[in-house]
C-alpha cells in the first residue's frame, strides 16, 4: 500500500480539488509540507487552482517547501500514492467507476457527504450501499477505502490567517494499516488529530453528522467541528 513509507513522503492526490473542501484540504496539506496533486475533471482548471493553492500555501508555510501540481482526476489517481476523494456526492459514483484501475492497491480517503437541501434545511441523502464510503469500497474493490476529513469546515481550512485548526478527524475503515496512515495524515494538519472511530459499516453516521454541523453553524454563526473527549 504505502510500502511502510513515512506519511510525509507520500504524494497526496485530491480529486475534486477545485471545490471548496478539496481546495481547503490541499492548501493545508501543502502548507504542512505534503506534496499534493490536485485533480479535477478539467485538467486545465486543476492546473490554475494548483498554482493559486501553491502560492497561498507557500506564503503560509514559513520556509517549508511547497509542491502542488494539477491534472485530470484520472492522471492524479494514477500518479499519487494516496488519494482523497472530495468530489460532490452527485458525481461520486461516476467519478470512481472510472478509477478502479489507477487506484488499485492504494489508500483512498473519502470525505464526501451525502447532503441534500430543501425548505427545512439540510438532510441526509439515501446512499444505496449504506454510506458514501461503502459505495467507494464497492466501486474500488482493490483499494483500501477509509472515511475521514468530513467535519472540517472548508471556510476554516481555506482561512490560512488561522494557522491552527480546532477539531479531530474521525477515521473509519476496515484495514489497520490504512486507517493508521490516514490518522497520521490528519495529524499533519496543525491542531488536528486523527482518531480511529470504527469500521466502514459505521461510516454513514460520521458522514451524516456533517449535516448536523451545518445546523450548528446556522444557529451559532460558527464553523463547527468535533473533538473526541477522553482520548
Amino acid at each position: 500500500m504505502t510500502d511502510g513509507r513515512a506519511v510525509e513522503d507520500l504524494v497526496v492526490g485530491v480529486l475534486g480539488g477545485t471545490g471548496p473542501q478539496g481546495r481547503g484540504l490541499a492548501v493545508r496539506l501543502a502548507a504542512a509540507g505534503q506534496r499534493v496533486l490536485l485533480g479535477s475533471r478539467d485538467a486545465e482548471r486543476a492546473e490554475e487552482v494548483a498554482a493559486e493553492v501553491a502560492t497561498r500555501a507557500g506564503a503560509a508555510a514559513g520556509g517549508v517547501e511547497v509542491s502542488v501540481r494539477g491534472g485530470s482526476n484520472v492522471d492524479v489517481a494514477g500518479a499519487a500514492d494516496l488519494v482523497v476523494i472530495a468530489v460532490p456526492y452527485a458525481g461520486h459514483a461516476d467519478t470512481l467507476a472510472e478509477l478502479a484501475t489507477p487506484l488499485a492497491g492504494k489508500v483512498v480517503v473519502d470525505c464526501v457527504v451525502p447532503m441534500g437541501w430543501d425548505e427545512l434545511g439540510a438532510y441526509v441523502l439515501d446512499v444505496p450501499e449504506g454510506s458514501v464510503c461503502q459505495q467507494a469500497a464497492v466501486l474500488l474493490p482493490d483499494s483500501s477505502v477509509v472515511g475521514a476529513f468530513h467535519h472540517l469546515s472548508a471556510v476554516t481550512l481555506e482561512d490560512l490567517s488561522q494557522p491552527t485548526l480546532d477539531g479531530d478527524v474521525m477515521v473509519v475503515g476496515d484495514t489497520r494499516e490504512a486507517t493508521d496512515v490516514v490518522q497520521a495524515l490528519a495529524g499533519r494538519l496543525p491542531g488536528m488529530r486523527g482518531v480511529y472511530a470504527g469500521r466502514l459499516r459505521n461510516a454513514r453516521q460520521v458522514e451524516a453528522l456533517t449535516i448536523n454541523l451545518v445546523s450548528v453553524n446556522r444557529r451559532y454563526k460558527a464553523h463547527a467541528g468535533v473533538r473526541i473527549t477522553d482520548v
Copy 2:
C-alpha cells in the same frame, strides 16, 4: 409544555431508570439539585434503585437537597414535567405505545441508541421510522420529542468521584421551546453544554455516532464523548 417555568423547577422522569444510562443520568441530575422520578416496568425495583441513587447523589451534592423517587414507567410518565426515555431499544416501541396519553403535552427526551452487536463489534440497527427519535414522535403524537444525551458514557455518569463531565450534549428537535429546555437541562450537568444540532429528521446520525464512540472506547481504552468546536 413547561409553562415557562425555569428548568430547575421541573420534575424530571427517567424511564428505564434502572438501566446504566438512565441511572447515570438520574444520579447526575439529582446531584445537581433536579427533582427526579425514576421509572421502570417493575415499580418495586424502581423504588429500590431510586433510594440507592438518592443516597449516592446526596453524598455528592454537597448540601443541595436531593429528591429521587421511584415508580412504574406509566406513573412516572404521568407525574413528571419532562420525561427522559432511557429504555433498551428492544423495548422502545412497546414502552412508548402505552404512554401517549400520560406524556401528552410534555417534552420527551429520547436518548436511546439503536445498537446491535456481532462478531465484528457494534453496528447500527435499522429503525423503520428512520431513527429512534422519529419512532418516538410517531408513537407520541401529542408530545414534543427531542433527541439528546446519547453520547454520555454511563460509566462516567455513574462515577461521582469525577465531579465534572467533559463533553457536549447534541440536542435535536423540531420545536424551539422544547430544544431550549433540553439544552438548559443538559447545562445542569457539571461541565456539559447542550448544543442545538438540527431537526429530528437528522437524529439518526446523532444516535448512531454512539456506536463509533464504542469503537473509540475499545481502541483507546477510553470513555469517549464529543465536544463541538467553535461554539
